[in-house]
Amino acid sequence: MWIIKKEEIKMGRTALIKLRPRRYKKGDLVRVDSVIMHPMHTGLVKDKKTGKIIPAHYINKVEVYYGGELVTSIDVNASVSANPFFSFYIKADKKAPLKIVWKDNKGEVTEKTVKIKPH
C-alpha cells in the first residue's frame, strides 16, 4: 500500500491555483481560480486507434480546506471540460493555508496548497 501511495505522489498531476487580486487585506474577498490537468474521460468516446471505448476517468470530487476547515466542496461529473477549471471566492479573514484536494473516480488524489496572507 505504501509503495502505491508513493507512486501516486510521484505521478501526481499538475494543479495550479491563482488568487485574485494578488494583494488583499484581512477580510477581503479573494477569488480562487484553480486548474488541474486531467483528461476527464466520459466513458462514451471510442479510442480512434483501437476502436474500444476509453473507460470513464474523471475528477468527481473537489474539496477546499482553509486553515484545516472544509469550506467548499464540489461534486463533479464527466461533462466538465478536460483540465477542469473551478473558480470561487474565499473570505480572507485569517492567515492560513488554503488546500485544494482533487479526487477522481479511480481513487487518484492530487493536493495543492497556497498560503492566504492578508496584508
Binding site: 500500500m1 502505491i4 474577498l29 477569488r31 466520459t42 466513458g43 462514451l44 471505448i53 473507460p55 470513464a56 476517468h57 468527481n60 482553509y66 476547515e69 472544509l70 469550506v71 467548499t72 466542496s73 464540489i74 461534486d75 463533479v76 461529473n77 464527466a78 461533462s79 466538465v80 471540460s81 478536460a82 477542469p84 477549471f85 473551478f86 473558480s87 470561487f88 471566492y89 474565499i90 473570505k91 473516480n105 479511480k106 481513487g107
Partner: protein, 151 residues
C-alpha cells in the same frame, strides 16, 4: 450497452477494487456513464422540488460557443452567502444533464462559482441555487454550438 460489454466493464471494475481496497465500491459503480433525462437529473438535485426562475441567479455563458468542449459558465447569486447552500450546473440535452454542484459555506463570502463545461450540442444551460430554506431558484441560458463537422 450490450451484455458482453457490461461483463467486461464489471470485470475491470472488479479488478480495480481488488487491487486498491481503499476505493469504495460506490465510486466505481458511479464511474459508468448513465443516460438520464433532464427531469430525472433535476429531481435528484432538488428532491422533487420545482426550482423557480429568478432574476437573483445571474448566469453568464456565451450565446454562441466556438468550441462545445470548453464552454465557460459563471454564476452569481444575488443573495447573502449565508442564504446559499449550493449551486448546481446542468445542461439539459447532455447524456447526463447534471454537470457539477458546488457546496458553499459562509467562509466563501460570496455565492459565486465559475467553471468550463462540455455541451454535446446546442442546448440550455441551467444554474440552480439551493437556498438555506430548502427552496431552489434558477436561471437558464441557451448556448449554441456547431451542428457538426468532420475530423
Amino acid at each position: 450497452m450490450n451484455r458482453r460489454n457490461f461483463l467486461k466493464m464489471t470485470a475491470v471494475a472488479g479488478a480495480v477494487v481488488a487491487v486498491s481496497p481503499a476505493v469504495p465500491l460506490g465510486l466505481e459503480a458511479k464511474a459508468q456513464p448513465k443516460k438520464r433525462s433532464f427531469e430525472e437529473a433535476l429531481k435528484e438535485i432538488t428532491k422533487g422540488k420545482k426550482p423557480v426562475e429568478s432574476q437573483k441567479v445571474k448566469l453568464i455563458a456565451p450565446s454562441i460557443a466556438e468550441n462545445g468542449a470548453v464552454v465557460p459558465v459563471k454564476v452569481e447569486v444575488v443573495e447573502p452567502i449565508e442564504n446559499v447552500k449550493a449551486i448546481h450546473i446542468m445542461a439539459d440535452k447532455n447524456f447526463d444533464p447534471w454537470t457539477c454542484s458546488v457546496h458553499l459555506t459562509p467562509q466563501n463570502g460570496k455565492p459565486y462559482f465559475s467553471t468550463r463545461i462540455r455541451l454535446a450540442k446546442t442546448m440550455n444551460v441551467y444554474a440552480i441555487a439551493e437556498l438555506k430554506d430548502g427552496s431552489f431558484i434558477m436561471a437558464k441560458k441557451p448556448v449554441k454550438v456547431t451542428i457538426g463537422g468532420c475530423g
